[in-house]
């Protein structure tokens, strides 16, 4: 990171690229999950593929984890640098006069999402890793749906998830269009990008929340 | 009374500058590296000179009192810059620009200098475009022009209402390149407080670091003064708060003659004074007179009603309005030169037709232009030309595109919407044509000390035409001084570095230190601003738009008395060795208090009316200025002689070989 990301612009481009990568992943994740609402079989089929395909498991999964860690670490590094660039703080600073709350608080929304990820990993990823690589239990192509539904029987978890999805939406509201700006994309299509970004930022987290609530209500 | 030699070259006027360049001494590139030049001021003239001198190879030290060269007050020039490009094909030429400038200056400028200015004007535009200055362009991608006061062609290049800014940033960028290369050493937040002469030659300056208060010595083989004009003598002017005469005045006290101090330009279109708290006046570009019509009510009762807020200007119909410029000067109308427009406004207001609370304002109305442009646009677009609302909307859009930033500025200050109601304007001090006397090489009467831009007197005579100040600043800095200075410096190639340890530097530093100590230790009761305001009132009231013998004599006495009171009773807080704005101001006002007296003396001496200088004793029966060519076709150059009132007059005769002296008529 040191040498290659030495400039402010390269850092923000890296932030944007990792963000876009995560947004693509999120979309993919969502598409698979939403199938659970319609059909346990399709969901199991997708999940089985993702859980056992070596390319997904040993190439894409590490990249994804790296992407997540990079995005978070970079976010914190940038924030520390930015605070340092100010020096003495203002006695009165009226950010609301010129910018949106979400744009100024990406760290807050991001940290919430990070906390959620910890929970989410604890809920799904850790048991999954344990199942496959620690205890090495025999693969059952139909287990995924049951595991999912089981998790959402707990109301606390559902509430935590929904709250997290709200923060995720906030994070994406700014993050989507911001990543385009960072990569130098600002032209006559920008309003369209912004509108699409809003749709994505609200739609995806809403969809995830819907899935969680759906299973909670249907168990 | 000695005659002054301007050292103008021989030959036909169109060839003088070329011949001169061919015959003056040059300094070889290798030797330029051995020569240091100090440039004081980083506006258009100073900035462009510093950059060009550095390009040529000289070691330049540049000084400005602002925190960055980019903030010099050239940045505030709005309207444009003249150049005889004839891109519009309307018959413009070098000769015409030369002629218009000399005539506009009411035949009180030096022919050779003005011709040279017109000649290099075209190079300026080429140079600036090459630097990336974003001038306004038409839809074909070529440069656009507009028209300014006192001329019958369109030769003014512009960048919306921010031409000065764009040109200055161009010069600043050229400086930046040289600063980056180490050829210019930039000293910002430094004020020049004295000139150092060694063996009669200018060899350095004494400065005060405005942050630390440290007094510093700087040596060089030549000193260039580009510190701008002295409009702040009037306290209220369109100049920046920091603009001052100190550098120019200090060289005057060291032997540089000061020429035509009374030639001051009062700009006709400024935002009127709103109250006693006012610290400065804001200009509304002359370009507005391209489209705005100036008027006052025809009847005094209506004017009274408007002043008292009982009547709105838009309520008055055409027949109740007096478009006095169009009435008096049908040929030029609203685009008469500045001095004429200013005097006409004052005349109406003095007669009781003024339209703001103080009775010192006239209207500048865009209603007609809105309709004209709106109809034109509607026609082009194929819309209904009789749809009033549509025409208004389209017209206002065009006005906004042309003058948007000026209208916004006006609205912020006056709190009225100039798209809906006419602007109120009144004349204000804007530019000083007078300044340090220089010869054809732009050298003052001190060998090795040069003056360029508004700081010198040379090109505008008794009245400057619009869009000519930017032209002169850049002409001097880019294309004249860098060559002519070589003629002087050619003798200095063996001099070697100048030491700052000489007794001359010591003495100069002590002079400066003594003055500073006197201010800091003075236990006075009144602030510097108190004196500055009072000085401004005296000069504005008695040496303003119209002058007479009695008041000028009073002004001289009053300024002298005020100066004495100033030294006795001024209070300067704080310490000398720290950031201390009141101290910096005191040092500037001290010089204004001397200049003010010479200013009145010069105005008193010149009993004719010419350009911006209007003597009530010398006018035609219709009240127009009456020049006296038989007795006053000369430059008054004043030699410092102890007290400003004792200054000695030297005359440089003005010989017109290429232009016939005529009564200036804009009727």
């Amino acid at each position: 990171m040191g040498v290659t990301l030495s400039s402010t612009i390269l850092r923000k481009v890296a932030m944007a690229l990792s963000g876009i990568f995560l947004m693509v992943f999120l979309l993919q994740h969502f598409v698979i999950n939403i199938t659970s609402v319609f059909s346990a079989a399709i969901f199991n089929q997708f999940s089985h593929f993702m859980g056992t395909n070596p390319i997904v498991q040993f190439l894409l999964q590490p990249i994804l984890i790296f992407g997540v860690i990079f995005h978070f670490v970079m976010g914190f590094v940038l924030d520390i640098q930015n605070k340092r660039a100010r020096g003495t703080r203002y006695a009165i600073y009226k950010g609301s006069a010129n910018s949106s709350w979400v744009s100024r608080n990406m760290l807050t929304s991001g940290a919430t999402v990070l906390a959620f990820l910890a929970l989410h990993f604890y809920d799904f990823w850790v048991p999954e890793m344990n199942y496959k690589y620690v205890e090495v239990l025999p693969e059952d192509p139909t287990r995924y749906y049951e595991e999912l539904v089981h998790k959402f029987e707990d109301v606390t978890r559902v509430v935590l998830y929904v709250i997290s999805f709200f923060f995720l939406a906030l994070h994406l509201t700014h993050g989507f269009s911001s990543s385009f700006q960072s990569m130098g994309f600002n032209n006559k299509y920008t309003p369209a990008v912004k509108s699409f970004g809003k749709l994505y930022a609200i739609g995806i987290p809403f969809g995830f929340a819907f899935i969680a609530i759906f299973h909670f209500l249907n168990h | 009374m000695a005659a002054l030699d301007a050292k103008t070259p021989q030959g036909p006027i169109a060839e003088k500058w070329t011949n001169h360049k061919n015959s003056i001494n040059l300094v070889s590139p290798a030797n330029k590296r051995l020569i240091d030049v100090i440039v004081v001021g980083t506006g258009l003239a100073g900035g462009s000179a510093a950059a060009t001198l550095a390009e040529l190879g000289y070691n330049v030290k540049a000084f400005c009192f602002q925190d960055s060269p980019r903030r010099a007050h050239s940045i505030a020039a709005q309207g444009g810059i003249n150049a005889a490009k004839n891109y519009q094909g309307d018959g413009d030429s070098t000769y015409r620009l030369f002629y218009d400038t000399v005539k506009g200056g009411d035949y009180r400028s030096r022919e050779e200098n003005v011709y040279r200015l017109a000649e290099v004007s075209t190079n300026i535009i080429d140079q600036c475009v090459a630097q990336g200055v974003p001038f306004a362009r038409d839809y074909g991608g070529l440069l656009d022009n507009r028209s300014f006061g006192g001329v019958l062609v369109s030769r003014t290049f512009y960048a919306k209402g921010q031409t000065g800014q764009q040109l200055l940033l161009g010069a600043y960028s050229a400086m930046n390149r040289q600063i980056g290369r180490g050829k210019i050493k930039m000293y910002s937040r430094h004020e020049m407080l004295d000139l150092v002469k060694v063996d009669g030659k200018a060899r350095g300056i004494i400065t005060r670091n405005l942050v630390s208060g440290k007094i510093e010595r700087h040596a060089a083989h030549a000193v260039v003064i580009a510190s701008g004009g002295y409009g702040n003598l009037f306290y209220l002017s369109t100049n920046a708060m920091g603009s001052n005469v100190t550098a120019a005045w200090k060289i005057h006290k060291q032997g540089a003659y000061f020429a035509n101090p009374c030639f001051t330009q009062i700009h006709p279109t400024c935002i009127p004074v709103s109250g006693d708290h006012q610290s400065k006046l804001t200009l509304m570009s002359e370009s507005l007179r391209n489209d705005g019509r100036i008027w006052v009510p025809k009847n005094k009762e209506d004017a009274q009603a408007i002043r008292e807020g009982r009547l709105k200007p838009t309520d008055l119909t055409e027949k109740d309005r007096d478009y006095y410029l169009e009435r008096r000067y049908p040929a030029f109308g609203n685009l008469v030169p500045r001095d004429v427009a200013s005097r006409a406004a004052k005349e109406r207001c003095d007669e009781g037709y003024g339209v703001n609370k103080t009775g010192e304002a006239v209207f500048l109305d865009f209603a007609d232009a809105v309709v004209r442009y709106g109809k034109e646009k509607a026609h082009v677009k194929g819309f209904d030309e009789n749809d009033t609302a549509l025409v208004q909307k389209l017209g206002k859009e065009i006005i906004k595109a042309k003058y948007g930033n000026l209208f916004q500025m006006y609205e912020k200050i006056v709190d009225q919407n100039p798209y809906e109601t006419p602007m109120m304007i009144y004349p204000a001090v804007h530019y000083t044509m007078g300044g340090v006397w220089v010869d054809y090489n732009l050298m003052t009467t001190i060998p090795g000390c040069f003056a360029i831009g508004e700081a010198n007197f040379s090109d505008h005579g008794a009245n400057r035409l619009g869009a000519s100040a930017l032209m002169q600043g850049l002409a001097d800095g880019y294309f004249v001084l860098p060559y002519t200075i070589g003629d002087y410096l050619a003798d200095d190639i063996r001099t070697g570095p100048i030491s700052t340890d000489s007794s001359e530097f010591e003495a100069a530093e002590q002079r400066v230190q003594a003055q500073i100590d006197a201010f800091i230790n003075n236990k006075g009761t009144k602030t510097v601003d108190y004196f500055h305001r009072k000085l401004g009132k005296i000069i504005w009231n008695k040496c303003g738009m119209s002058r007479n013998e009695k008041e000028l004599k009073e002004a001289m006495k009053e300024v002298k008395a005020l100066r004495e009171e100033f030294y006795k009773d001024v209070f300067v807080p704080g310490k000398a060795d720290s950031f201390n704005e009141p101290l910096a101001k005191a040092l500037r006002v001290a010089d204004f208090l001397e200049l003010g007296e010479l200013f009145a003396k010069d105005a008193l001496e010149r009993t004719e009316s010419c350009g911006g200088h209007f003597r009530e004793e010398s006018q035609t029966p219709e009240g127009e200025a009456l020049r006296d060519d038989a007795n006053f076709a000369f430059v008054s150059a004043w030699e410092y002689n102890g007290e400003p009132s004792d200054a000695k007059l030297h005359k440089e005769a003005l010989n017109y070989e290429n232009i016939e002296l005529k009564t200036r008529s804009y009727k």
């Binding site: 100010r86 910018s99 700006q181 990569m183 | 602002q66 080429d126 440069l143 960048a159 400065k280 807080p573």
Partner: protein, 248 residues
């Protein structure tokens, strides 16, 4: 109008500063903000208190000298103006007004409200120019027609006054708007093309060396910019920078 002013006072660059409270009477709504400060200073001097130091010069919104952070905003509550163009009619009788210097690590305080913005100059030294000598023999100004839209955009970027409001207002103290305005002006004109690669690399490097923060696209700079410089310029600089890096 009567006002309570809370102003940052700091003796010099090394001294520790703090907010001081002053009350001021008889403020006219027609005064500009700086004229109000003049009145305050006259009052302070009468009371034997050192006047408040602040940068100011042209007082018509073009030189970029004035630089106050008023009630939490650069150049105060109004839009598209500098502090010198802010008028007291924007405030109410009895208001409390907080006045602080523009704050950023690269803008150290010199005294009170005066800050050192020479970092901006140094960024310009690194590449804010076209390398053309003053010969007077460059080609004719009309030799290269420039599309009006591009010329206008270049102008819109070029009107930056270098006041530093973008840095002061950015929560990250980023100077991207300032630097991008200059980069854009030249990127949009054919005259600037020749050195485009070096220019953007050098200027961004200098910007980073000065210690300005990272841009997070909050857009606050565009809102507070007295000249309304667009965020589009930052995107353009990002593009220029990326392609310059690719070209090396």
């Amino acid at each position: 109008m009567k006002l309570i002013l809370k102003i940052w006072r700091q003796e010099n660059a090394t001294a520790k500063g703090s907010m001081h409270t002053y009350s001021l009477d008889n403020v006219s709504p027609d005064m500009s903000f700086l004229e109000m400060m003049d009145v305050l200073n006259e009052q302070l001097m009468e009371q034997g208190i050192d006047p408040v130091a602040f940068d100011h010069d042209c007082r018509e919104g073009i030189c970029g000298s004035c630089s106050m952070f008023i009630n939490g905003e650069a150049h105060g509550p109004d839009r598209l103006i500098t502090t010198c163009q802010l008028h007291m009619r924007k405030f109410k009788d009895g208001d409390t007004i907080h006045i602080e210097p523009f704050r950023a690590k690269p803008f150290p305080v010199i005294k009170d409200l005066v800050v050192d913005r020479t970092a901006f100059d140094r960024i310009q030294h690194a590449g804010g120019f076209v390398s053309v000598n003053t010969s007077g023999n460059t080609q004719d100004a009309n030799a290269i027609p420039i599309e009006k839209a591009d010329a206008d955009k270049a102008f819109d970027a070029a009107i930056c006054i270098g006041c530093g409001a973008c840095v002061a207002t950015c929560k990250n103290a980023s100077a991207m708007l300032f630097v991008s305005a200059k980069v854009s002006q030249y990127a949009l004109l054919p005259q600037g093309q020749v050195e485009a690669t070096d220019r953007v690399l050098n200027m961004v490097k200098q910007m980073d060396d000065e210690g300005f923060g990272n841009c997070t696209n909050t857009g606050a700079c565009e809102v507070e910019c007295p000249k309304g410089i667009s965020l589009e310029n930052i995107a353009r600089m990002n593009r220029e920078y990326l392609s310059a890096n690719v070209k090396g």
